[in-house]
């Protein structure tokens, strides 16, 4: 409980950690570009759909939109919110349970029971 132990990192450790942080920073920037890209594609697709340029069907566009959204959310959770790091077991457990429940509730609510 009380105070945490103050621990002074050795220069080597310190450097190592810095480098690691940098690396994960780089990964995050890449992921961010990916997110921007997905967003752009989503918006363009919809604009194109509306202008009837591509001739995609609605039933093609909507699943793609949802898929992109899901990917973006995964990136946010895993990279920006660090769910990929250690010590996030319970976070994963509850987030996944929550998402699973939300998904099945929405499914039940919209697909099988709604008229």
């Amino acid at each position: 409980m009380a105070d945490i132990q103050i621990y002074k990192k050795s220069p080597v450790e310190y450097e190592l950690e810095k480098r690691r942080a940098k690396k994960s920073m780089q990964a995050q920037i890449i992921m961010f570009s990916l997110m921007i890209f997905l967003t752009l594609v989503s918006f363009t697709m919809v604009v194109a759909f509306n202008a009837d340029i591509l001739g995609f069907s609605k039933y093609f566009v909507i699943p793609i939109l949802l898929l992109f959204a899901a990917v973006q959310v995964g990136l946010q959770l895993y990279y920006f919110m660090h769910m990929n790091e250690k010590g996030h077991g319970f976070a994963k457990l509850f987030m996944y349970t929550g998402m699973l429940l939300a998904f099945s509730m929405l499914l039940g609510y919209i697909v099988i029971t709604w008229w």
């Binding site: 409980m1 009380a2 105070d3 945490i4 103050i6 621990y7 002074k8 990192k9 310190y14 950690e17 810095k18 942080a21 920073m25 995050q28 920037i29 961010f32 997110m35 921007i36 967003t39 989503s42 918006f43 919809v46 604009v47 759909f49 509306n50 609605k58 566009v61 909507i62 939109l65 949802l66 992109f68 959204a69 973006q72 959310v73 946010q76 959770l77 920006f80 919110m81 010590g87 996030h88 319970f90 976070a91 509850f94 987030m95 349970t97 929550g98 998402m99 429940l101 939300a102 998904f103 509730m105 929405l106 609510y109 919209i110 709604w114």
Partner: protein, 208 residues
Amino acid sequence: MDLNKKFTPETWPANPERATLEAKNKFVGFWLFIAGEVILFSTLFGVYIALKDKGISGPEFSAQELYELPLVFVMTMLLLTSSLTSVFAMYHMKNYNFKKMQIWLSVTAFLGLGFLMLEVYEFAHYAQLGFTYNNSAFSSAFFTLVGTHGFHVAIGLVWITLLIFRNAKRGLNLYNATKYYTFSLYWHFIDVVWVFIFTVVYLMGVVG
């Protein structure tokens, strides 16, 4: 825990946001809170999907006619970027660079503020057209879903402003590191919700 304990980048722990038991509790508790929010927002999404385009609003107020994608696109970019800036801020927090962290958080706050203003503008615009909260079931559901998100953004802004000013003088310690960190989690979560809002509400609304 001693609040005035000063750290150096060398002594600053690797995971400052959960270095003490209190911090760990907050950290876990906040994740659980977010898991609860997942259900909260999915309920709102369910309601919105069920009530989309329902009511007597007339054809000019259908999702397809109403929404304006350019505005939404700008809002999306603002919010996504603010997510990145808060990642920068956390990067500096881990490196015990208080000043840079504060700066990036201020940028985050400004981007968030921009988003919120645009949202207020959007709502006011719709209201002017006659699409108000009381207009139809669709309008109630729309404003409630998007408004709840906007409300979360507003709370986040107040929160981070308080944090920035409150700690400006005292600098980073293990007590407020958790607060900064949970804020960043919260902010990312807001972004997650927005991703679904622009997809399900706006893009899918325009697709029809």
